[in-house]
Symmetry: C2
Subunit: 333 residues, 2 copies
């Protein structure tokens, strides 16, 4: 058998056997990917949480990229924000041509790395040819104690609004992929540029945040279309309002530099997408306890505002004056 990297694979069975079957090892329910279905046997007292997201070449990623790691990451992000721990996933790929062995190796390596990072396993999927762009669709399944899912529509007035990590880095990473010189001209070190780009190319949702959400959050969702837009959704779903401060939004050092020298505004950062951090609310009396668990789990959390009775989101500047946002968040559609 030839193992040349540019050899093309023309059979779905060969692709599954060589590249995907190793990714289901140790999972009895996957049946070695040799059947049309996987079986899941949840423990008593456990709920399953399920989500699905597609990445389409030219829409969600640059032509030539093989965002296998990211495809799993964006789905895992949705599970974590509901308080669920990822366990298994299905992968559907549509390929514009018979893939080379080199391409399949990149794809499988990205998945293997994501599986290790997020402790989950491939259990099924579908492989098709398409006259359109390379597309990856993942359906991810997580678990949590029965009845403990955290929705986005259950925030209450007075709740603290918090986010994990830093906001806007992936948006800057996307801008740098389009204009690499923009980083150096704003005074970023090469490592900072690389970090920002990695936030876009290879987001790492915080698995440890699932426990934090489950234990303390009154409402939660992941930040995928920009903090401003996603907070607006949480607020609208909960039927109340929010009072938030732009200067409270946590930024990375690199983002601070871009704001100071790169012509980027804070409100651009809260409108940029793909953070894959968690936005959550919680009763103020539980904030200290939540901070302690967050510190213990290595999850940075920052308060950005409070939920209010009045409908709608009010963003304020550092003097407390309402700011009218001039940019909208990202809409994948």
């Amino acid at each position: 058998m030839s193992t040349s990297a540019d050899q093309r694979l023309h059979s779905e069975a060969a692709i599954i056997g060589e590249f995907f079957a190793p990714l289901c090892e140790g999972d009895e329910g996957a049946g070695g990917l040799s059947d049309d279905c996987a079986v899941l046997s949840p423990s008593p007292g456990t709920d399953l949480v399920i989500t699905t997201d597609s990445l389409i070449e030219g829409v969600h990623f640059f032509p030539g990229d093989v965002p296998a790691f990211k495809a799993l990451a964006v789905n895992v992000s949705d599970l974590i924000a509901k308080g669920a721990v990822p366990e298994r996933y299905l992968l559907t790929i549509a390929l514009p041509e018979a893939p080379t062995r080199a391409f399949m190796t990149r794809l499988a390596d990205g998945l293997a790395q994501a599986q290790r990072a997020f402790s989950c396993r491939l259990v099924g999927g579908d492989t098709d040819r398409t006259p359109g762009p390379f597309t990856l669709t993942i359906t991810a399944i997580g678990t949590l104690p029965a009845g403990s899912i955290v929705r986005r529509n259950t925030a209450r007035p007075g709740d603290i609004i918090a986010v994990t990590g830093t906001i806007g880095d992936a948006g800057l990473g996307l801008a740098l992929r389009r204009d690499l010189a923009g980083g150096a001209s704003a005074g970023l070190a090469r490592a900072q540029v690389d970090d920002l780009i990695a936030r876009f190319d290879r987001p790492v949702p915080r698995i440890a945040a699932a426990a934090l959400v489950r234990r303390y959050a009154s409402a939660a969702m992941d930040i995928s279309d920009g903090l401003a837009k996603d907070l607006g959704r949480l607020v609208a779903a909960s039927g109340i309002g929010a009072d938030v401060r732009l200067d409270a939004v946590p930024l990375s050092k690199a983002a601070h530099i871009m704001c100071a020298h790169g012509g980027v505004r804070r409100q651009d950062l809260i409108a940029s997408g793909e953070d894959y951090e968690v936005l959550f609310t919680l009763p103020s009396e539980r904030w200290a306890e939540a901070l302690a668990l967050a510190a213990e789990c290595g999850v940075p959390v920052t308060q950005v505002g409070v939920m209010t009775q009045a409908a709608g989101v009010v963003w304020r500047d550092d003097e407390g004056k309402p700011v009218r946002l001039t940019t909208e968040g990202w809409d994948h559609f």
Copy 2:
């Protein structure tokens, strides 16, 4: 609000709210499709079975078709053949342009009809724009008593090989969609032509077969890429062989006519895809009992051969002589 049929919908939220949210009604776990995840709370002693399949315009269906019913049906078919009863599904659609209200109505109506036919509900999904073709990806979830999934690799020598329904009709339907005149010239009535085309456009997997499979089958899978190819897969997975008779393969009256006057051979029919019937094996001593349950449930079943010790599939003609098949089954890839 305009409700003109050719008005285009530019917002994912509007599409979900108007067309998809009604399809999750009554399912608490769907959260009204307003969250990123659905939650499943399986009853104790229940396993979940999960499968996913895509339909791509120009690959799996004709340009202009909106095969929403079929997209759910082909996934339900996989569940049934494992002995599982469908319950819920996620739908991911990729749209080449902002859809019209008329298009979304066709899509939602097809899903609603399939939901009624298969007793399952929409609980989540993803909606994207694509520079490529219209694509529907469904992930379907069914349930069965814990430990009762039926795999394809567990057939034993001596087992009877049976199929539900009739074989080859969808393949003929596909041929008739390409050349409608072929039906009349072979002597088919218009209603027969319509029936064959419906077998391709709107397959109806037999929900009642799930119980039959679960109770009696030693191995099972759905017939989606042609009986010949799929039997080859079941036999290979089980590591044994099969002895089957071409003249035992059940045909519809229309298929008989096409064989007599339309230049179609029986071996073309077992090589054509998309039957969405069930192929299963069972111990011969249970055959009479299985036939009785099948009759009770209104599921036609027919023996086509027996599993053998020797590896590989031997197809025989009506004199018992081995036949060398000259056509291969359909490979979606």
